[in-house]
Amino acid sequence: MSSSAENPTLTAEITKPSTEIATETAQSAKKITLKTSDDQIFEVEESVAMEFATVKSFFEDAPSSTDTVPLPNVPAKPFSQVIEFCKEQIKFKANPDETEKKRSNSEFVKEKTNEDLVEMIPVANYLEIKDLLDVLNQAVADRIQNRSVEYVRSFFGIDNDFTSEEEALLREEHAWAFEDVDED
């Protein structure tokens, strides 16, 4: 259940209310202002924002725009984590190192809770960050692949609408698939 608040040093680097950030980074690259669905304002470096295909195409349509870009489907909490990922990613753009990139990606998902991962998926999807979506889907798959049916149901918030007879039949049909499942 970690949120950006539990990770103060890291998130402070990335996301700050626009008023504070202006003075600190006056010399640095161009900033893009983004507004989340819960009305939080984020100022991110242009290079990071261009990782978001959705935002990139917004500026391709209106190159000189200085407006705040609204992100109606993106809540602040997962968004700050997405920015964290993209900041790491652009380092590898200049300096491709697949091993190091893999290590960094697995480090990124390792410290996230199940909820963090599931919340980031729609954000990564909306912003069209393919690499992140891949990493997140793989991380979720890794977390559920050896788990029981009950665990996976609670992971995704699924209601079991089978009768107990139907479920027993399904388990019987594929009994082998229910062997050697990790303890919850």
Binding site: V118, E119, I121, P122, N125, L133, N137, Q138, V140, A141, I144, Q145, N146, V149, V152, R153, F156, G157, I158, D159, N160, D161, F162, E167, L170, R171, H174, W176, A177, F178, V181
Partner: protein, 500 residues
């Protein structure tokens, strides 16, 4: 679906799960069940698996022990063919090992052969432990064209057979029958032969499925020189491998040669090729690899015989299939009615056949042929006749019933037989008996109408009996004809039975 994620995003996660987890996920809820089992999902999953960059190419390896046990395992495509996983083999060999016809997207097609005749085909997806047993409609000799492949347009797995009935006194020349089995349809379909088949094959199931096309090794039927293995009897062995570098371009055939010392171990059997490597089986079942570049032969320390290599990808195909026997729908049949229903309705008979493998064909002139595959304890209740009493256990039986006269005739064959149709009003039964195992003494047939087949050159007693039990009559037989090296045809004149 999920409280947290929409279906399209869930799908992306599912594509990353191993097969076993995916199968388990079918019991999460109704929506998840129908999503994962949907043909669209299964097909998309397959596309993803094949196109995925970290998609592991696997080899299917079959090892056979002397105790007639078959072990199938998936091996990694690395230098030593390390084992990836053992597969659970759910079938029992009856008389010989299964033949592997091919493998495609993780589905394996096997043929069960008894005495050189194919009695059934099996589509098997070992990773999800699903299979379907398919009875062929045409009795086919081992040396017929059989191919298995995936039809990507129809998202369907298909089996094609071309059974070339060799020239016969009874049949016109070039009498190939083609049939196609579709997994989606669950049935066979005949393919009309528009041109005569000018090719034979003397290979056992040697098809290769590539680029959506089945390929066979064939000989021109009018030229008696086939493909011969060229072996040198000196101290070294040479393999000539022909590679078509550009698919479909005849001029691009290139010869590669592998030469190595034989060390008195005889000539190895070529099994397959991977990259620059020829896999071979040495005399005692050890598998060796020959490097086409360095000409070095290396022992893989894998033992087994015979050995098959096929690339396989994990696939969910057949997830909706229930294990067992495919529905048999014969184009000549009155329908896929269970046998006992069929007889009860027409004759007041109740037949109890524990075996599922029954098939009925309309042979014309009121005659129906009913095939019972290895009746273990079958009874014709009204007649109080036990099929097993009359005939030894484990043999296929064909029962001929005339629906106009209620005349019932039993025909027994060792060990597999099929009523294949009619020819000019006569019933043909193809017999799968092995010639060498039939002695003259076993010839219990009477030859009433031999003269009606003027060119009948050879009569070989087939262990078969026809008796008119429903009328209490003695066994009377018309005649039969034999074809060597192909079908053995047993022709029963419908008229001569009716005269009894």
């Amino acid at each position: 679906m999920s409280d947290f994620l929409p279906e399209d995003l869930i799908q992306e996660i599912l594509f990353k799960l191993p097969i076993k987890s995916l199968v388990r996920c079918t019991s999460l809820s109704r929506t998840w069940n129908s999503l994962i089992k949907s043909p669209a999902f299964i097909s998309k999953h397959l596309q993803r698996t094949i196109s995925s960059t970290d998609h592991q190419s696997l080899f299917l390896l079959r090892l056979c022990s002397k105790e007639r046990e078959e072990q199938y395992s998936l091996r990694l495509d690395n230098q030593d063919f390390n084992e990836h996983m053992q597969l659970h083999f759910p079938f029992e060999s009856f008389e010989s090992y299964f033949h592997v016809i091919g493998s495609c997207n993780g589905l394996i097609c096997l043929a069960k052969v008894i005495r050189r005749f194919t009695v059934s085909f099996i589509f098997w997806n070992p990773l999800i432990q699903k299979y379907v047993n398919i009875e062929p409609r045409i009795l086919g000799h081992l040396y017929s064209f059989v191919g298995f492949g995936y039809d990507s347009r129809a998202n369907d797995y298909k089996l094609i057979r071309m059974v070339n009935f060799q020239k016969s006194k009874f049949l016109s020349e070039n009498f190939p029958k083609m049939e196609l089995y579709s997994l989606n349809e669950g049935s066979w379909r005949s393919i009309p032969q528009t041109a005569p088949l000018r090719y034979d094959t003397d290979q056992h199931f040697s098809s290769a499925f590539l680029n959506g096309v089945v390929h066979w090794i064939a000989n021109r039927a009018d030229q008696h020189e086939g493909i011969h293995n060229v072996a040198s009897f000196l101290s070294s062995v040479q393999f000539h491998i022909w590679v078509m570098k550009e698919y479909g371009v005849v001029e691009s055939w290139t010869q590669l040669v592998l030469t190595f010392g034989a060390q008195g171990e005889g000539i190895p059997r070529a099994l397959g090729i991977r990259k620059e490597e020829l896999l071979m089986e040495k005399k005692r079942g050890w598998i060796v690899s020959g490097d086409l570049e360095s000409q070095q032969v290396r022992d893989l320390r894998i033992w087994g015989e015979p050995f098959h290599t096929f690339t396989a990808s994990p696939s969910l195909s057949m997830l909706r299939t229930s294990n067992g026997v495919s529905r048999i729908i014969n184009t000549m049949s009155t329908g896929p009615l269970p046998l006992f229903v069929f007889l009860r309705r027409l004759m007041g008979l109740v037949v109890v056949f524990p075996s599922q493998l029954t098939q009925n064909s309309d042979l014309g002139k009121g005659w129906q042929a009913i095939l019972v595959h290895r009746p273990l304890a079958a009874w014709l209740v009204r007649l109080s006749v036990s099929v097993t009493e009359a005939f030894p256990e484990g043999c296929d039986t064909v029962i001929l019933v005339n629906l106009d006269t209620y005349m019932t005739v039993f025909v027994l064959s060792m060990p597999c037989c099929r009523a294949t149709g009619n020819l000019a009003g006569d019933i043909i039964i193809g017999l799968g008996a092995h010639l060498s195992e039939i002695s003259e003494e076993e010839n219990i047939l009477t030859m009433d109408s031999v003269e009606r087949v003027p060119d009948l050159e050879r009569l070989i007693g087939i262990e078969a009996a026809i008796s008119n039990r429903s009328r209490g009559g003695k066994a009377r037989v018309s005649e039969f004809g034999i074809q060597i090296e192909a079908h053995q045809f047993f022709i029963i004149r419908a008229e001569s039975i009716a005269r009894e």
